[in-house]
Amino acid sequence: MMRSVINQLLGLRLSGNSSVLVTQVRDKGHLSRPRLRNPQWFLRKEITKYNDLMTAENKQFVNEVGTNNFGVPVVIKDCLVKTAGPTANEAVWTPNLRRCGVIARKIGQYPLWLKNGERIRTTLLQIVDNHVIKYIPPEEYLPAQVPTVANLHKRGCILVGSETTNPALLTKEYAGIFRNSGVLPKKNLARFIVSPEAQLAPGTPLNVNHFRVGDFVDVRGKTVDHGFQGVVKRHGFKGMPASHGVTKTHRRAGNIGGGGEKGRVWPGTKMPGHMGNRWRIIKGLRVWRINTKYNVMWVQGSSVAGPTGGLVYIYDTILPTRKNKEAPPFPTFYGEPQQDGDDVWYEQVHNFKSESITYENE
């Protein structure tokens, strides 16, 4: 406090003499962390709910209007969006370009079968009502915490929103984020770091056709919060026997280190603690099947982070051997998705509409 006041005074005195301001760097050490500057879209979302002394009928009417106009549509229609027609950007895809991602919800898991009879487990991800809100070019995008991206300065940022919500429940400043996008306020926002060639105009809808079957994706989600857990649940330790003279140490870790020169607890030792509620990215999951009507994609495996109904973010994979080799819809899919409800299946997957699997005699 004192130091800052002195600095200010010094600054005043200096500004009187010369226009050069000397910043002190002596105090900068390992303790002076970068100041947390939240992104500009981190604003207070929900308004305070006051008791408005409305009659029950009026309240019901207001709620009805809200849900009718702004409720989350299951089948996505673009009727709510008044965009000036996003102009298709004619950039050509090259393997080094990074595309936008989408916001999805994990809606469950069920098995599919391959044509060779093998059973695979899949997770269903629904891409609900995604629209581009804003594109921030590389020069203007200055995050406080620099994302670990190669060629950072050459990448811009796309702000994507999902799930239209009732604006009456939102604060003015939060709803202001959407002012120039032509999109109604959304419940969820996410930013995606993209190459400038992959920029999208505000109001562009993103749907499941952004990805193709057979592509590999990375899925980021927040794992289920288990709270403070012991070592058996958190790290899969075996615990100790239930009987044979064992007392009071059935689920304890046991030894946590040696003696002598190493007589201390080594950093990284597995111990009890908080489990879950962390961001995790599962990389390189194949898209087996796509449903364009409900905007659902079936993704390999059952290890996508988060509970059923949780939000996840889907990106093109960064794994070098599984990266896109052919051009995906770039910068995104602009056509009309077909509405006949027929799914797109990857060639190796058995379609339930086709006949049972039989094996040929060699």
Partner: protein, 306 residues
């Protein structure tokens, strides 16, 4: 169990159809029995009255015939869009293969493609000892004794490698799952591989086989004395007092009054109606087709002799 009780049981199940909603996770048998005893004491059962007028008439037995169409009642796992997509897939598969009505205790023959078998197909005959899971992961276990060796095969109902499922003997048993056959004498789970199908009359109720199996002496795979089994004849032979005491300790006789437990482990009736209303027309069409095929199969054109 004599004939009258069997009739009573049927009528009771009909009644209970409207009252209780049963999924995999609920224990049905105990409730039915206890209800039955209570009813006997009270009054003769009255004819069931339909509680609601529905637009589409969905047969009340659909949730027993197609239990896998009801989703898992665990709230955290439910999602309406996922369930709908899953049902569509199930219907698509059912259009390709005839998945018949069967219960725990029915004798089935499953033909499936097998890359390691001689003719690339294998056929297994056995008694269904358990059905579990919902949706596309629905599965059942068949058990048989072949060359004095007990065999069990787990089949997934919607596995596309299954080519054909025949019901050789359609019946129910007294219990919800027959895992105790593993500890019973082998003759109770031995079925002839070349067994002929035993057709039931159309529209006849599914018979309940009240056979009581004979267990072999301990050691057993599970503590059967704790499970209130009705289909076991000689369990008392092998019990000592300590077994009876410990079995009495773990009993939970209050659970049949636990309405919240029942609610949590079942799909509400309104939702069931919704679900079956969605799939009813297609399932009904498939049933009609199956009947037609059956008649075609049974009618054999007489040959002209001479």
């Amino acid at each position: 169990m004599n004939l009258s009780t069997r009739v009573m049981l049927n009528r009771l199940t009909q009644q209970c159809v409207y009252k209780r909603i049963v999924t995999f996770s609920t224990k049905t048998a105990e409730h039915v029995i206890e209800n039955q005893e209570e009813q006997k004491k009270e009054a003769p059962p009255t004819t069931p009255t339909s509680p609601v007028n529905r637009k589409t008439i969905i047969p009340a037995n659909y949730r027993f015939v197609y239990p896998e169409f009801l989703p898992d009642p665990k709230v955290e796992w439910r999602n309406l869009v996922r369930e709908k997509l899953e049902r569509l897939d199930m219907l698509d598969r059912r259009k390709q293969i005839d998945l018949p009505e069967f219960y725990v205790g029915s004798v089935l023959a499953v033909t499936s493609s097998d890359p390691h078998a001689a003719g690339k197909t294998s056929r297994f005959v056995g008694i269904c000892i358990n059905r579990d899971r919902c949706g596309l992961r629905a599965r059942f276990i068949l058990r048989n004794v072949i060359d004095h060796q007990g065999m069990e095969v787990v089949y997934e109902l919607y596995d596309p490698t299954i080519l054909k499922i025949e019901v050789l003997r359609l019946e129910k048993r007294l219990d919800d799952s027959l895992f105790y056959l593993r500890d019973a004498l082998p003759e109770y789970s031995t079925f002839d591989e070349n067994m002929e199908a035993e057709p039931l009359e159309e529209g006849a109720p599914v018979p309940v086989n009240d056979i009581k199996v004979v267990l072999r002496p301990r050691p057993w795979l599970e503590r059967w004395e704790r499970q209130n089994l009705r289909g076991v004849a000689n369990i008392d032979e092998y019990l000592k007092d300590k077994h009876r005491l410990s079995a009495a300790k773990v009993q939970k006789p209050w659970e049949k009054y636990d309405m919240m437990k029942d609610y949590r482990s079942s799909i509400p009736e309104e939702e069931q109606t919704e679900i079956f209303a969605e799939v009813h027309t297609e399932l009904h069409a498939l049933e009609l087709q199956r009947k037609r095929n059956k008649r075609k199969r049974t009618f054999i054109k007489p040959k002209q002799l001479a």
